[in-house]
Subunit: 343 residues, 2 copies
DNA sequence: TTGTAAGCGTTATCAA
DNA sequence: TTGATAACGCTTACAA
């Protein structure tokens, strides 16, 4: 049978729809006995309230939405976990929604706001270059997590939490230089990328310059596609290509730890030892970087702390009406087995 | 200003709401000029239709929902990717929703059905032991992906696509036995688990029996918590514990490849070589298993094919009204560097 | 080709 | 403590 409505329940209980609604929503000022009776009929008939009708009528909800572009990115997994926990602790409903690669996250958010009326939104992933005008339309507290810099004007509307990708990347490359490396290959995303990949590349350039090492374009290896720029296969493929090219280098710095894993495997298969023949470095500080053999030198982003900050800032804005905040976290250079001093 | 409605647009254009609705929904029988004018006003004012109102009124949508319990499980990532692609190809809207660990997936689905009226649902993850009664309430085509066996009666209502976890696990353990191993440690989920972990353990028991090897309870290592039963840290921790216990074994069979990674790392740190000192085997056939050093012996589940089957079965049910189907896929034993014959 | 008006299932307002 | 009733923003007969 085509699912019950609140009216059917009202009829079955011999009360009005208002009373049923009150029972359903735990409103005060309703007779305990009436309420119990209603709730029993509700569960006997497995009645489920229609959320569309609720959302349509309700002026506000108690939800916080998390929109993730690239939900398969392992970097976001601990973030999502922490966010879920925090949001629940604060007695909000946690709304997780994936954003397709070809969708505009703000458009998705705008629809969501009309539909579900969340109290706040967290954006994870994506590029995030939106006009302030569009951001203003959102009109509820927003925090962007771990997407690198956003432009200054937008920053007054949206909070953001991230590491300084240029600086952290600089840290890594500077370390490699100090270890005596001068021919440092880097695996970045596509040439068109304007996001974290571009920033990490900028850090690379700055560090080389600061160490008096010329930037050699042939050592910058761009991904041909944007889709798989961050996976193991990509690192594997490009590493094999790099080795075959005969280009000389002593260390490979990969845009992410997953790519670094592919790099290590390719080296292994070509009979090269890490770090004896080539050093390898990654970025992010994923679990796999510390469980791989060899463990992989990386820059750890403090994901859990960052996720906590995202939540705190959002709730500050929701509950205390605090203005947008920007928190930049310090990454941690983790020197591990995959890199060594060049003698 | 508090967001426009279709009425405002109608007023601005000097037409009725019906006409606006027609323009918005690409209905036939509307003057091209009127339509263009309306669409211009719509975009000038950045009008966004309210989905709650739409869903409330509409008798059906064109969406297919994918509900994932444990969205961070790397096993589901390629599945989700393929599903998204297939669903889009068929011109359906792809709805991805996470289900919290403590939520009942059917309850979530029931709400969703009322709210969004999808044409079909895919369930990934979770345990899936629901009464047929409850499943019947859903009343739209459902496919359960990769969750192992569901009980027979439910099977008439829901389709399912999976590998035979008992048989595949048997395959792995039988292989290990044939390689001369008799002391095979296994890392499974918690004692209470009734899902894939229990089935893989059953396959282990059967294979040992078939090979005339007694099942030794001390070689069965249960996870203390259910939450992290499948991650690297868990494998690492339990492996260290197992080594410290002094229990004798020649191979460790982990419930998943991620756990196997943790196992390998722990062995490495204790100065043990894989496979010379201990063999290691995993399950699932994740990318990392083929990129790890050593590459990890595993049973590959044909995820992409399985995801395609999920989609095909669902669309068969939606468009051709075909009854529930069950497809059991064959896993593939991948013998790799992490295991060896015991001499 | 366009408009009028009746719902969709709920919550909010007000009165009883 | 309860109930009538008017919205919420949209789609869809049906009428013009």
């Amino acid at each position: 049978m085509g699912s019950m409505t609140i009216k059917d329940i009202a009829k079955l209980c011999g009360v009005s729809v208002t009373t049923v609604s009150r029972a359903l929503n735990n409103y005060p000022g309703i007779n305990q006995a009436t309420k119990e009776k209603i709730m029993q009929v509700v569960s006997e008939n497995q009645f489920i309230p229609n959320n569309s009708a609720r959302n349509l009528k309700r002026l506000e909800s108690n939800a916080v939405a998390v929109l993730v572009k690239g939900i398969s990115n392992p970097f976001f997994q601990p973030m999502i976990g922490v966010l879920e926990k925090r949001i629940h602790e604060r007695k909000y409903t946690f709304l997780l929604q994936g954003v397709n690669g070809d969708e505009d996250e703000i458009d998705v958010a705008l629809e969501l706001v009309l539909e579900k009326k969340p109290k706040g939104i967290v954006f994870l992933g994506g590029y995030f270059c939106h006009t302030q005008e569009k951001l203003k339309l959102l009109d509820i507290p927003c925090v962007i997590g771990a997407v690198g810099d956003i432009d200054e004007k937008s920053g007054r509307i949206c909070s953001c939490v991230h590491v300084d990708d240029v600086r952290e990347s600089y840290k890594m490359v500077d370390y490699l230089c100090r270890m005596g490396h001068t021919r440092i290959a880097i695996l970045v995303a596509s040439r068109e990328d304007m996001s974290i990949s571009a920033q990490r590349l900028e850090g690379y350039r700055q560090a080389l310059r600061a160490n008096g090492i010329p930037v050699r374009e042939e050592l910058i290896c761009y991904s041909t596609t944007d889709a798989d720029a961050y996976n193991m296969e990509r690192g594997y493929r490009d590493m094999k290509r790099l080795l075959a090219s005969g280009i000389d280098f002593s260390v490979v710095y990969a845009i992410s730890d997953t790519v670094a894993v592919g790099v290590c495997r390719a080296l292994k298969e070509e009979g090269k030892r890490v770090p004896e023949d080539y050093s390898v470095a990654g970025f992010d500080g994923l679990d796999i970087a510390s469980y791989y053999i060899p463990t992989i030198t990386t820059v750890r982003q403090p994901v859990e702390e960052m996720a906590c900050a995202v939540a705190d800032i959002l709730f500050d804005a929701i509950e205390e009406h605090r203005p947008a905040q920007h928190r930049i976290f310090e990454g941690e250079l983790l020197v591990r087995e995959s890199s060594r001093r060049l003698v």
